[in-house]
Amino acid sequence: MFSLLRTLWMVFLHTFRKRVTVLYPEEKPSIPPRWRGRIILSRDPDGAERCVACYLCAVACPVDCISLQATEDERGRRYPEFFRINFSRCIFCGFCEEACPTYAIQLTPDFEMSEYDRQNLVYEKEDLLISGPGKYHDYNYYRVAGLAIGGKDKGGAENEEPPVDVRGLMP
């Protein structure tokens, strides 16, 4: 009997407690920077697309919401001809970000992407591509990769020496 009265009193004391609810649309919740939200495609510090259309994100995706088509430009750089993410399927697991070898695909702390029309949740490349480098400011895939493209031959990358001529006699 006493415990019942004690319960009543303690619940009553909650009248004077601060409420824990965050009144969301007026008051934005603070979201950690590694939050897995809306997916974006980032660019090099030079401003070129990072994505090399390797399909690893599409393969890693457990719900198959990413589709893309690879193509090459005149300098030999691979890039996606189209890149489409169906956000009505996406489960925001972040596997695509983990799979990406060039830090191109990244998840951002934005979650406010509701739509009235389901079709509007299918994001095309121009919706996904941002103008900056995202979370990795200085990384430039073609500057560190050994691949030869137009304007950069083999051995021209950072921390890389010109290829050794194995048939030459010089030390």
């Binding site: 019942l4 319960t7 009543l8 909650h14």
Partner: protein, 316 residues
Amino acid sequence: MKEIIIRLITVFGVLGVVMTIASGLIWLERRLLGLWQDRYGPNRVGPFGLLQVLADMIKVLTKEDWIPPFADKPVFIIAPAVIMFTVLMTFAVIPYTAALYVVDLNIGLLFFLAMSSLGAYSVTLAGWASDSKYSLLGGLRAAAQMLSYEVYMGLSLMGVVMLSGSFNLREIVEAQKGLWFCIPQFIGFVVFMIAGVAETHRLPFDLPEAESELVAGFHVEYSGMKFGMFFVGEYLGITLISAMIATLFFGGWLGPVLPPISWFLIKMFAFICFFILLRASLPRPRYDQLMSYGWKVLFPLSLLNLIVTGGILLAR
């Protein structure tokens, strides 16, 4: 002629105010539960979410009013009307102030007890007519609970009747001019309050509907406005029991400074809030616990109260 018009205004005024309070309680309860659980509750529709009731009303009216094909149709339809009818009838005998009442019935208290007993039919019939096992269990529980709690609800009030020497609610209030009956009839007050919680089948005694075990008990099969009537009927019941507690034990409209009607409303709302606090804090007992608590604790207690009060009155 003038007399009749004033009567009509009183009747419909009381009806309107009581219905407004009962439906407003839906909002009040959700806000208070929110407050006691450190959250807000409905605060979006209108100022402080007050129009939530209106939104709920629109929703419930536009829902499909489904009568299951296996149900006993006429009884199924009558059952929710019965609870509204019985509870609203009782509001007729409550004196709101010395001058504001619908009828000045000399057996007002008995009328209240009779009507609340009839209210048991509503839930029992609803449970029976739904022809579903959960509903039937809920209806059975409701019948047993309301019948047993009815007994000492009546007995606990007899002390008040002895002290005031009347069944007339207005005279009972006037008999409390010196001292509110909550002090000489403290046991009666406590027993009546607990019986009242059981009578309106509110938490912690909401075993007839017990969401976690019987889904929703007697109103599992109800939808649309029929469900709404049970819902509002329950809140009307809370309002009624609070008004009765205020009238019988806390001197109704009596009080200093403020006008009588506001004293009545203040007391009533205090008890309504207490009912909601009960819901916010206490867990539901098992069914056998509920019954044994009623018959083994409250029943002897109310009898004892009756005997002691009678003895003191005789000795005086």
